[in-house]
């Protein structure tokens, strides 16, 4: 009788631990954003803020530690392209952007582990002060395995045996430093770079 009770109690505790920790980890890894979407980009306006809820704080701790609040910097993240397909290091993506109403911006590529991806060029980002712009002050950035195009950022995929055949998941972060009020008060409506798939290896 006692053994049976202890077995049931142990089962309850084990399943509760798995369910509780698993669901928490899944939500933490759901990442920054989700609260607000703009094209392929997602953000959480409460990042870094004292008004942030427990889930926002947990997501910041996992994927955006030491992030600034939105009046100082806005962080948009893209895990998928404009068609909703997950980003893959084996593919080439074209980002087309118009001038952004902010003091400075950058777009950085991160691996699934949230760190910079090793590549032979040591090129991890493009930014307002590095990108070549067109006559209308807009810009086109290519994110591709070797990053060889103009304004390119490599994902480091080589197709070698150490790479998975389909490539690995990655994400992009768009940072807007000292955004104008028109930007941070309309995060869902401002024109952000489009993100389209050009092809895969």
């Amino acid at each position: 009788m006692i053994v049976k009770f202890l077995l049931k109690l142990g089962g309850v505790l084990l399943v509760a631990l798995v369910l509780g920790l698993g669901s928490a980890w899944w939500l933490i890894n759901a990442g920054l954003g989700g609260a607000l979407q703009n094209g392929a980009w997602v953000t959480d306006p409460n990042i870094g803020s004292e008004q942030a809820g427990p889930y926002s704080r947990a997501a910041v701790a996992r994927a955006g530690l030491l992030a600034l609040n939105k009046s100082e910097t806005i962080y948009f993240t893209a895990f998928v392209d404009d068609a909703g397909q997950p980003l893959s290091t084996a593919c080439t993506y074209k980002l087309v952007g118009q001038p952004l109403a902010t003091r400075w911006w950058s777009i950085t590529v991160y691996g699934a582990d949230h760190y910079l991806i090793p590549n032979s060029a040591n090129q991890f980002s493009q930014a307002m002060n590095t990108v070549t712009r067109d006559d209308q002050n807009g810009f086109t950035i290519f994110v591709s395995p070797d990053g060889s195009q103009e304004n390119g950022i490599p994902t480091g995929f080589s197709g070698s045996s150490s790479d998975t055949h389909q490539g690995a998941a990655f994400s992009l972060t768009l940072r807007l430093y000292n955004p104008e009020e028109a930007t941070y008060s309309n995060l869902g409506g401002i024109a952000l770079p489009t993100l389209t798939l050009e092809g895969c290896q």
Partner: protein, 174 residues
């Protein structure tokens, strides 16, 4: 009497408690690990000038390779801290502070500063200090946390100059 409905309810209630506990404790766990790591590297109230971020950078997730960072771990449980730095010209610079729950409770950037340097005092609520030296006071919501100086590498040919300036940042116990 069947016991499985009671077991199911107990399991779900316990799972909910574990879930909430994990979500609430994760930010403070991660911050305490970061603060502890800085303490073991350089100690509290000492500026650590991190090398420019690259693929080998593993201390903080999603670093920006376009910025250079200087960081201090703080503990104001006993004494306030004076934080100072020169402000580089013609580029983005900010001084920010983070509590033990990840909140960014203070930030000031170069465009908001009138001088070519910044100096603030960080203290816990109710802390007493006799000499502030005219520096503005920031009240920390937690006794431990992190101070971060960001400097934008405006151009590659300015890297040496900006790197030298940011290394003058200090965090000193008063």
């Amino acid at each position: 009497m069947k016991s499985w409905p009671y077991l199911l309810v107990a399991t779900l209630i316990l799972a909910g408690i574990v879930h909430v506990g994990a979500i609430l404790s994760w930010p403070t766990f991660v911050m305490s690990r970061l603060v502890g790591g800085l303490e073991s590297q350089v100690g509290f109230s000492t500026a650590l000038h991190a090398p420019r971020a690259d693929a080998s950078s593993r201390t903080v997730v999603r670093p920006s390779p376009d910025l250079i960072y200087t960081v201090c771990a703080f503990d104001v449980s006993e004494r306030p801290l004076k934080i100072s730095s020169p402000v580089p010209a013609d580029t983005y610079f900010s001084l920010s502070m983070f509590g033990d729950n990840t909140d960014n409770f203070f930030v000031v950037n170069d465009s908001q500063l009138e001088k070519d340097s910044v100096s603030v005092v960080l203290m816990r609520p109710g802390s007493e200090v006799s000499e502030l030296g005219g520096a503005p006071v920031v009240i920390a919501p937690s006794v431990r946390g992190v101070i971060l100086f960001r400097t934008l590498i405006a151009s590659e040919d300015r890297f040496e100059e900006l790197d030298a300036i940011r290394k003058e940042a200090t965090c000193e116990v008063m």
